[in-house]
Amino acid sequence: MSHEREPGQDPNTASPDDGKPVLSISGLEVTFATDGGDVHAVNDVNLDVRPGEVVAIVGESGSGKTVTAKTILGLLPETATSAGVVLVNGSDVLSVSASQLRDLRGRDVAMVFQEPSTALNPVHTVGWQIIEGIRAHAGSGHRISRKEAKARAIEALAKVGIPDPGHRVDFYPHQFSGGQKQRVVIAAALALNPGLIVADEPTTALDVTVQAEILELLRELQRKDGTSIVLITHNMGVVADLADRVVVMYRGDVVEEAPVADLFAHPQQDYTKELLAAVPHLGRNSASAGLEERAHSEAEVLVRATDLEVEFPGGIGKSAFRAVGGVSFQISAGEVYGLVGESGSGKTTIGRSIAGLNKITGGSLNVLGYEMLDFRERTFKPLRKDIGFVFQDPGASFNPHLTIGECVAEPLWVHQDPTASGARDRVRDLMDAVQLPGRFVDRYPHELSGGQRQRASLARGLALNPKLLIADEPTSALDVSVQAAVLDLFKEIQTEYGFAALFISHDLAVVDMLADWVGVLYRGKLVEEGIGSQIMGSPRHDYTRRLIASLPVPDPAEQARRRAANRELLTD
């Protein structure tokens, strides 16, 4: 890879063959039947994709982007009705016969799925799955022999960078890592060299370092084979990294369509502007900007971990799994400690250990003067009022049978003995603090939106004025614009109440916006610790460097520069 195409240039230079579009959608409407009546998922979408072009469809949940993607392959469920024209290589997906549609799938257009571990059949080898697609198109005269099909499957695996494909073609999906599984899914899509690939959130389920590799792979395919890609994503960084042209969708409508550089530089519509403004951008809005040394370092130490070790027992006959090993850190009163790491790094385990949800198995963890190694629920209980916890999934962290008001009041009833009116007043105050209307106290959790629920979750965490708040990925289940609002609120309340916080996230940019002190976890070890802005600016550990280099920033020009600069870091 010597030459790198700059996205953000005129897309036509990338695809000189400006012939017929490989995909042409016009007047597409999709309606779903639901319990609550018909829902219009997509309204009047028009879209052309030229050969060799990468078109990103971005939007938040409910925007209709995934539905649009499924329509391109005729994969809508029975409950959907659609109208309009979707031309793939000249045939209208919406009106061809079932067998024509089958011929089209895989040959003219293929799909890459969001979750590679569910998109692969667990009980068949990856080779078998790729061969199924190849042999499905063996009709019209010549049969493809099993041997020939297998050779082509191996070829496809080689193309996506699976080492030793001749051997691994007979492997089962569980024998591959997450990133490799996604490569296999891409290989299966490529097996028949379709001119168009629809990639539905292809990197959302992956860690950011793996995401960088998959994005690189897609870019290479597009560059070498001239494959067109329709990229469905909610991630503006991914868009900036890969797309030539961007279509922004909102509630089933196309809001704006523009070349990638124009969109990021001069968004036309209000929605697009708000969306872009809400995206966290690494290096901007750092909470620790200008800090020279650790803040709050002279304050009381609330949490002190020394060589902390957490092991989970294995099943019968299996060895124990060490989630955290030899981690030392401390959190002082009033400090926001950001803990960042990918899946399996042990960050959640540490947060749960501090809250007494996990037993620790070695080292020492001192929480508010209590040694967690000798944890007993009875003796720890009095300290629980000083610890608040905000969970990742706001939908699941409320008892569906209780109202929001009852949920928020629950800590009061457990630790104090309030009067009914006292509790009611306190809940009112808390709802005000998290900017939720007072009437929400009588609603049930499912009647609130994700962002509202996460605000209520914050209110519950703060009900007893805790000294320490643990927030485990509090915004990663939320849409970008909602995330921005919740983060602002968090920051505001933290300043006002002055509690210490352990903020756990996989997203460096988010952590940097909130935390003054940041720790980077990698496979159960704390590899680096320091002032947020300094870590982001000049990481010392290799892993931190790679992590930062992998994170795409929502700015095409800047991202292209970063990619070029970080090439070596990402490809070793």
Partner: protein
């Protein structure tokens, strides 16, 4: 306890009751199945309640106005479904049999729900070696033929022969013992699932006591699948009762009417071509079990979004068949994203 709030009522409360809410959200075929099931089950319980009014004769009555009915009489005006080998009126015994069946269902299922659910909740929540022991025992019992266990139990309880109350209690207790493991497994599985739910963990983080967590957070959410098992086990208990009766462990004909016992006696009749003594009690069993199973199955489907049928929009269908609609459309948005 009920502190800051009064309950909001978007929909009247009764619409959230199990069967009614299921009926409201069912469509098409599933609705038909559910309604047929409800009607059949309704007939059973109505027949049981009004048996004395419906049945022309008593269950142990072999003569009227001093005249014997006669054995194995073909259906006639006096005995619309004929008479049995013992000289009883088939129609009356089938009607009275509904009473026995309903009693056994109610007693057996209530007792097993009680024991099974409490054991499952506590065992699942606390875990540890008690839990492990109970699971091994429950699994062992579960794997064992229910009928055999019921036989052993009825030997224990009544020595194998019995009057009305003893017979019904024996059958009900046998069924209880057979089904406790099932309720136990389900309640325990639900509890373990709920224990890992963030809302239970958030109660734990707050410092809520175990008792309060179980009663306020786990139990109300763990009963979701209970109506389903209730109906399926009610169906199974009828089959177990009939099986016991068929093997001669039922209730003596002089104490109560029992369909399985009558079928046992009808077996020899069938060889000589006498069909009415077996057909009607048999059909009564089939329709009862069918009704209860239809209700249970429909509830199961409606609870499981993967199996739940949906209204189809408009006229034209598109795309591959047989896909779960919920992957695309769920309550909040239309997409599966972050």
């Amino acid at each position: 306890m009920d502190t800051t709030t009064s309950k909001p009522a978007r929909q009247p409360r009764w619409t959230r009751l199990p069967i009614i809410s299921h009926l409201r959200k069912s469509v098409g075929l599933q609705r038909t199945m559910l309604i047929i099931g409800l009607i059949l089950s309704g007939i059973l319980f109505l027949t049981a309640i009004f048996a004395p009014l419906i049945a022309p004769y008593g269950y142990a009555q072999a003569s009227a106005d001093g005249a014997n009915f006669g054995a194995q009489m073909a259906p006639s005006a006096a005995h619309i479904w004929g008479t049995t080998v013992g000289g009883y009126d088939v129609f009356s015994r089938v009607i009275w049999g509904a009473q026995t069946a309903a009693l056994v269902i109610v007693l057996g299922v209530l007792m097993s729900i009680f024991a099974g659910v409490i054991l499952g909740l506590v065992s699942g929540y606390l875990g540890g070696w008690v839990d492990r022991l109970l699971v091994v025992i429950a699994d062992a019992i579960y794997a064992f033929p229910a009928l055999l266990l019921a036989i052993v139990m009825s030997i224990v309880i009544s020595g194998g022969q019995s009057n009305l109350f003893g017979g019904i209690m024996a059958a009900a207790i046998s069924i209880t013992v057979v089904f406790i493991p099932q309720y136990f497994r389900v309640a325990r599985a639900e509890t373990i699932r709920l224990k890992a739910e963030p809302f239970v963990e958030s109660a734990k983080v707050i410092g809520t006591s175990n008792l309060r967590i179980i009663s306020r957070h786990v139990f109300p959410n763990a009963t979701r699948t209970m109506p389903l098992i209730f109906t399926l086990n009610a169906a199974e208990s009828i089959l177990t009762l009939a099986g016991l009766g068929f093997l001669g462990f039922g209730i003596e004909p002089s104490s109560a009417a029992e369909w399985g016992y009558d079928l046992n006696k009808a077996l020899a009749d069938a060889t000589s071509g006498i069909w009415w003594t077996g057909l009607f009690p048999g059909l009564a069993i089939v329709l009862t079990v069918l009704g209860l199973t239809l209700v249970g199955e429909s509830m199961n489907d409606l609870n499981d979004p993967r199996l739940r049928g949906r209204r189809r929009a408009g006229r034209k269908k598109r795309g591959g068949p047989d896909m779960p609609a919920d992957a695309y459309v769920n309550g909040t948005g239309l997409e599966v994203t972050k």
